[in-house]
């Protein structure tokens, strides 16, 4: 409930300070602007539920985006190009998972730090540093299209959130993910295939980065190797603001969605009020600290030491 109240309080205050905040086109802007972060954060949530971290999502976003744009420019039809983009994200995610579970790199911070740099570098290599623009209209649909009054990226985000909600709460594998994050040893002893679950969450995180890439590429009408710089940190922030515990085992998809929206609303509102980006950065930093502080309080509340 905490994040929701925070979001509502923000909205009330912004409607009071800016006459433009509550307008429909502005709210649609917020949803559109938050949709890429919401995708990355959903993947990041699964990873953080297992007490892991995925630093590679911003770079995967760039790599998937430029490869999608290059495929489209080379004449690959839209649907196969989008499927290939998602597959690419899945493969990069599998690599992240295997680095952790097979090579036994000591912490996902390290394995994903590695792939973050590899993917960013590859994005520059395949494009020569240039952005790839001028995409067919069909490719822009997922990023910039409308389904009646609803922007397609927003509908897409809602759909994947519902799917992941069902997956996490109604399936054994989903519940395993919480168990792995709660206590890895206990999960292993109770017969959960921990390594497979870990590989799975990084794989899904890669796929969500690819979905984010599809949306961003459509929205920006181009794939560019600079895309998603700092996006990994934004996605982590959304998950944490959304009430997930950095230590694993606690969190849910709706909190993460609200976390992503809080960040989107803050940035949008501060833009509407002409607050310089420097101050926006300060404010978002303070919100992260406040959210984690609540995580600390919550842990105290649950297990009085």
């Amino acid at each position: 409930m905490g994040p929701v109240i925070g979001l509502l309080a923000l909205c009330v205050l912004l409607s009071a300070t800016s006459p433009h905040f509550l307008r429909v086109d502005n709210l649609l802007n917020i949803f559109r602007q938050s949709s890429v972060n919401a995708c990355l954060a959903l993947g990041q949530l699964l990873v953080i539920l297992t007490a892991g971290i995925d630093l590679s999502v911003g770079s995967l976003l760039a790599l998937c985006g430029v490869l999608m744009a290059l495929m489209l420019k080379a004449g690959v039809p839209v649907l196969p190009a989008l499927i290939a983009t998602i597959l690419l994200g899945l493969i990069m995610g599998v690599v992240n998972g295997l680095l952790l579970t097979r090579l036994r790199l000591p912490h996902p911070f390290i394995s994903t730090l590695g792939t973050m740099n590899v993917a960013r570098g590859l994005a520059f290599i395949v494009t020569g540093g240039f952005s790839v623009s001028g995409l067919p209209d069909g490719a822009r649909f997922l990023g910039a299209g409308m389904l009646g009054p609803i922007p397609v990226p927003v509908a897409t985000v809602i759909l994947v959130y519902v799917l992941f909600h069902v997956f996490l709460t109604r399936t054994t594998v989903g519940r395993d993910i919480y168990a792995v994050g709660g206590n890895k040893e206990a999960a292993r002893l109770s017969g959960i295939p921990v390594d497979r679950r870990l590989t799975l969450v990084y794989t899904l995180s890669g796929a969500m980065a690819a979905l984010g890439a599809i949306i961003l590429t459509g929205r920006m009408n181009s794939g560019f190797p600079l895309a998603g710089q700092g996006a990994e940190l934004d996605s982590i922030a959304a998950v944490i603001i959304g009430g997930a515990s950095f230590f694993g085992g606690v969190g849910n998809v709706w909190g993460t969605l609200v976390g992503a929206l809080i960040m989107g609303v803050l940035r949008n509102g501060l833009n509407l009020l002409d607050v310089s980006t420097f101050w926006q950065t300060v404010v978002i930093g303070l919100v992260i600290i406040a959210a984690v502080w609540m995580d600390v309080l919550r842990r105290k509340g649950h297990s009085p030491a």
Binding site: A9, F130, S133, D274, L297
Partner: protein
Amino acid sequence: MNRNRFGRIWTAAALMLLALPTLFCTGDRAPSPRVALVAKAMDSEFWYSLREGAERAASEAGVRLSVLAPQREVYIHEQVNILEDQLVRGVDALIVAPAGVAQVVPVLDRAASAGVPVLIVDTDIDWPQKAAYVGTDNREGGRLAGRFIVDRLDGKGSVALIRGIPGVASQDHRVEGFLEVLEHAPAIDLAANQSANSERALAMNVMENILSANPHLDAVFVTSDEMALGVVEAIAAHGLQDRLIVVGFDAGREAVQAIQNHRIHAVVAQDPGLMGRLSVEAAVRLLNGETLEPFIDSGTELVTEGDVDDFIARREAGFRPASPSAPE
């Protein structure tokens, strides 16, 4: 009961955070036209001068001007968000220095279809609806740098190029103008051509690497001052400051000082202050129903050790607002 407590904490936190921006927000109700200038970043003297020039012109013309920018030049999506938010907020004209040439087009299309005129400043883009481009002739600037280096080297030697983000027109044009001149100087060898994202620290690293690979380098053209100032540090660290010719681009105060100190040998001068002023003046003319010429040139010249003092004197004079304050 715990939950309640969190709710209150959240609300309190949100209230405190939101009190903050009201300190910085400007009045919203006056009838004068509203213009937003969206820069690429606000992280170097260039952008501060541009903002200063724009703000002076705005206060003279009685225009309400907001100047906004993403945190870093590479945060292209953030610039797109800022533009979208300014459109919602309602502006009479937009002045944009595009951080991403292709990426801003969809949002500029939206501005155009909402009837908001768009002026492009500093970095030209190929977008047919723009009201005008206000800025430097960057290709000519690149040529000036190329000719200077070719002259100083008597037509032969080893040269490096350090540039900003590829795909950004202002950067691409400087590079093209420079390479155009080198093509006509067959004895000049382009030993390195690297990007340093217009960031000082990165440019220093890049230059160090270039010097390790090419110890006999004779000259380097750096397509922005911010990077050139990093490059001279790398050169000084290698003890090559007496031999290597450095040419920068922008002519901000720090770089001009570096010319006086013989650390940089020449810079292609842009006049960001004039650029900011001309862009706001053009917006005002546009709002008065005038049609603009498609390219409004804010001037380009080469500043060298020989004429740096003269340049400073002229700029000091030029920086005074056109109207009231008389020179001391």
